[in-house]
């Protein structure tokens, strides 16, 4: 109980976070972010680690621009390599066809041993940006 409360509070303090729900039963922390945020993925992983948890697979909904086969998240200027999700290989092709456009991507990141190391975004699905 204390663990969940602490990690929830720590995640909520990250600038740009709108709400956090933690379920230790499910081993899941769902973070919703405010429009226009500049939050970085590694900030969340580091916060989870500092609060006694190990971050694992992270599903995200992220809006960005497709450039040279990568996704640029302009809020942070981060560039993410795109990789196929085995269950949805066509999703990556669909994203690559949106070169130069803003898209909303549903995908997953898996942190490495060093949470600051860049990892690719495995693409599950997409919709055109608004």
């Amino acid at each position: 109980m204390t663990c969940a409360f602490a990690v929830r509070g720590a995640l909520k303090k990250i600038p740009g976070v709108e709400s956090v729900e933690v379920s230790l039963n499910k081993g899941l922390a769902v973070v919703k972010l405010k429009p226009g945020n500049t939050a970085k993925l590694e900030e969340f992983w580091e916060t989870v680690r500092k609060n006694g948890f190990t971050p694992k697979e992270t599903s995200v909904l992220v809006r960005g621009d497709v450039q040279d086969g990568k996704l640029r998240v302009a809020g942070t200027n981060q560039m993410f390599d795109l990789a196929p999700e085995p269950k949805s290989p066509q999703a990556l092709e669909e994203i690559k066809s949106q070169m130069g456009k803003t898209v909303i991507v549903q995908g997953t990141f898996t942190p490495g041993k060093d949470v600051k190391s860049p990892v690719p975004l495995r693409v599950r699905g997409t919709e055109k940006g608004k």
């Binding site: 081993g27 190990t54 809006r63 302009a74």
Partner: protein, 34 residues
């Protein structure tokens, strides 16, 4: 003067472009360290 005006207008125009790019939601799988 003209160059300054153009530069200012350009800077204003660029700053006015909405940046629609960010993380919307994250579902973090977390496990307690032993």
């Amino acid at each position: 003067m003209n160059r300054f005006l153009i530069t200012s207008l350009l800077a204003f125009a660029l700053s006015a472009v909405p940046v629609h790019a960010e993380f919307l939601q994250m579902d973090l799988s977390i496990f307690c360290m032993d």
